[in-house]
């Protein structure tokens, strides 16, 4: 047993708070529970050069990474919050009160038996080991700052697939990952990508060798357990020429009275003819600020598809993007956002066409319930010199009751006259007559709303792997049941 190496040990009162009511709300939300965990590594509260050095030291990082982090901290401090276009709610994030690094150990376990009991209990309750046995090629389970468990099926490992966390990826496989690290999303891309670059920990680094098609999905599960915590995972997926991989991520956190921050950076690289499908089903508690930067580069004839499903959180800002760098590259974003009372889903997509004959498709569906607010922001950029590029954008919003708000901000720049763009948007309402009709057939008001929402996203949900569409339906049912006055 190692002794704690905390930078600032938390006062005992905080630990006691963490232990309070571990099963609160289990009937409402699968993720809303918490076990008391004694952290061996704690960077304390607030962000400074010392915090960044602490993270780098416990990870025993190479000096270039430490410098990368320190530089990023400077960029983070220099950049203002983007409140000139985004919500002022961002000003309510108190960066000085957040804990930037909490871990129980540095090395993820390869079997669930080795995972500390409380953490194992958490993931068992979330059903992760069971899913792994059933249909996954590999799992990484991150608990606060570090992966507690990471394993890849032998048959996949034998094909040369690398599936590790960010620390191990940069330390053990610098030749694979360093050339792309921070190249798809530069540190200075935005304030939160800079914050992530300074404090990143965990996440998945994946390399799929030439021509290898990973049949089953790889999955990561991100769990926030501690209050006032910031989770900053960093993911980099490289599919070499002709390779194919599907990656799925799920996320939950218990409900706390104070805000929690999740700010990830996800970079995808699909080399010639490769295919990457990245699926997110997030179910954050409604005090989480979820500010994530996701982007992929698709080389010649490569394909990147983001399937992004945002449920919960206080504020989500996320616009997965694809840079279509090579001829005939394809990019797709399928986005579903559900904003319930007290939530703001500010989501969208970016398609940057940078080669001839590139095609992109964006389908975004948002549901606003009660006081919930959803915003779509999209960027489609096709410069003048390009030929035969195509984009299709569809944004559909569903409003449930009169208080909800929805906004659409499409920014489509198409130059030249040999490109093709199509944009459609719709807003529809679940009205009283429709609910009454369903209630008259015996469904409760909550079941009726849930069915209406599931119908609205039905054509998108069908693109999900079976297990995830079942999960999605269950999450919507829970949200809608809870939204009935």
């Amino acid at each position: 047993m190692k002794s704690p190496v905390a930078l600032d040990a938390p006062p005992p009162a905080e630990l006691a708070e963490v232990a309070a009511n571990p099963v609160a709300g289990i009937d409402q939300t699968k993720g809303d529970f918490q076990y008391d965990v004694a952290y061996e590594y704690d960077a304390g509260t607030g962000l400074s050069e010392r915090t960044v050095d602490y993270i780098s030291s416990v990870k025993k990082e190479a000096s270039w990474i430490r410098e990368f982090r320190q530089h990023a901290l400077k960029v983070f401090r220099a950049k203002p919050l983007p409140t000139h276009w985004a919500t002022r709610d961002l000003e309510n994030i108190n960066f000085d009160r957040i804990r930037y690094y909490l871990a129980s150990g540095q090395k993820p376990k390869r079997t669930w038996d080795e995972v500390p009991e409380d953490i194992k209990k958490t993931f068992e309750r979330l059903g992760i080991p069971e899913q792994e046995r059933k249909y996954l090629a590999g799992v990484e389970a991150q608990f606060d700052s570090e992966a507690a468990y990471s394993n890849i099926k032998e048959i996949v490992a034998k094909q040369g697939v690398v599936f590790v966390n960010s620390t191990e990826g940069l330390r053990e496989h610098p030749d694979l990952f360093r050339p792309w690290f921070g190249r798809v999303i530069p540190t200075s891309d935005n304030k939160f990508s800079a914050l992530n670059s300074a404090t990143f920990s965990g996440g998945s680094f994946i390399y799929v060798p030439k021509g290898v098609k990973v049949a089953q999905p790889l999955q990561a599960y991100f769990r926030i357990n501690a209050e006032n915590f910031g989770q900053f995972e960093r993911t980099l997926i490289i599919a070499d020429e002709g390779a194919e991989v599907t990656y799925m991520e799920g996320c939950t956190a218990p409900k706390f009275s104070t805000a929690t921050l999740h700010s990830a950076v996800v970079e995808l690289v699909a080399l010639k003819g490769a295919k990457i499908q990245y699926i997110t089903v997030q179910n954050w508690a409604n005090n989480v600020f979820n500010l994530v930067t996701k982007r992929g580069i698709a080389h010649e004839e490569a394909e990147i598809k983001w399937i992004d499903c945002n449920i919960g959180s206080r504020l989500t800002m996320k616009y997965p993007g694809v840079v279509l760098k090579g001829r005939k590259a394809r990019g797709e974003v399928i986005s579903i956002a559900l904003a319930n009372d007290g939530q703001h889903q500010d989501t969208g997509a970016k398609m940057i066409h940078a080669a001839d004959e590139t095609t992109s498709n964006i389908v975004a569906k948002s549901i606003s319930v009660g006081q919930g607010r959803s915003t779509y922001r999209g960027v489609v950029h096709i410069p003048k010199r390009l030929r035969r590029c195509k984009n299709n954008t569809e944004c559909d919003a569903l409003l449930i009751n009169t208080n909800s708000r929805t906004d659409t901000y499409p920014a489509i720049t198409v130059r030249g006259d040999r490109n093709y763009v199509q944009h459609e948007a719709s807003v529809s309402k679940v009205n009283e007559e429709m609910i009454f009709y369903m209630q008259q057939r015996g469904l409760t008001e909550g079941q009726a709303m849930s069915l209406a929402v599931n119908g609205f996203i039905n054509d998108l949900a069908r693109q999900f792997p079976m297990e995830y569409s079942v999960e999605l339906k269950r999450l919507i049912d829970l949200e809608m049941e809870g939204s009935v006055g």
């Binding site: 429709m434 008259q440 469904l443 009726a448 069915l451 119908g455 609205f456 054509d459």
Partner: protein, 253 residues
């Protein structure tokens, strides 16, 4: 044997009283037709019984098998055995008829009980065969882009599967051509039996050529002003609603 007993019912929409003291008893196995001119409160009656929140019962009573339903939500009334075939059924985009009906049946089960998928489809297909409905029909989204006739067919199928004790059919014949009218009539006739009571609301007599009612009631100004057998419908057809209005105005002097 079930009964639906409506006693001195008053219904208001907003500040306006529409149904003004209506009484009617329907037993299992009976088909009652309510006829009357437009704006006389026929649809209001059916929506109030079904529990639409905009239709407020200001006094009176509705008992289903001796139990008042007026304090119950619309879905509780439905599960207790009331079915309303809508004049204008809502579209539910993205939800197939099969899934919708499955959810409706699932809602009738106790918590923790799951509907058996293969038994459900057997039952659904049996009802579709009975009503001569094509198998492909139930994979379409509920009422989305349906013709008038398809909407009615969808209502009848739902009624067949949910097996209510009492069906309230609100102007089921409105806007239908003769073929669609037959579909509805054949459907109702094939469901007719000792366990089903029907309240058939219609403006025109012609539906009653296909569905022969046991009782006919004439509604005017929020009340039933005349009751009789099917010959009353024929008299109405011959003399028009002015006949009732005149007679009723005379009678109330």
């Amino acid at each position: 044997m079930s009964s639906l007993v409506i006693t001195n019912l008053h219904v208001a929409v907003g500040d306006k009283e529409i149904v003004k003291g209506l009484s009617l008893t329907i037993n299992s196995g009976e088909i009652h037709a309510i006829m009357g001119p437009n704006g006389t409160g026929k649809s209001t009656l059916s929506k109030a019984i079904a529990g639409h929140p905009d239709y407020v019962v200001t006094s009176g009573e509705v008992l289903l098998d001796g139990v008042s339903i007026l304090e119950k939500e619309a879905d509780e009334r439905a599960r207790a055995g009331l079915f309303l075939a809508f004049q204008y059924p809502s579209e539910i985009p993205g939800v197939s008829i099969a899934n919708f009906l499955r959810a409706a049946l699932q809602a009738r089960l106790a918590e923790g009980e799951e509907i058996d998928a293969s038994a459900y489809y057997q039952r659904l297909y049996a009802k579709m065969d009975l009503l001569k409905i094509d198998r492909k029909f139930t994979s379409r989204a509920v009422n989305e882009g349906f013709s008038g006739g398809e909407k009615k067919r969808c209502e009848i199928l739902q009624m067949a599967l949910l097996e209510p004790k009492f069906a309230l059919m609100d102007e089921t014949d409105s806007g239908l051509d003769i073929d669609a009218l037959r579909i509805v009539a054949d459907g109702v006739n094939s469901l007719r039996g000792p366990h089903l009571g029907v309240l058939l609301i219609t403006h025109y007599q012609r539906l009653l050529n296909y569905i022969i009612p046991d009782f006919v009631h004439v509604m005017w100004d929020g009340r039933i002003v005349r009751s009789g057998d099917k010959s009353l419908a024929l008299a109405l057809e011959a003399k028009g609603y002015d006949w009732v209005k005149g007679e009723f105005a005379f009678a109330s002097c």
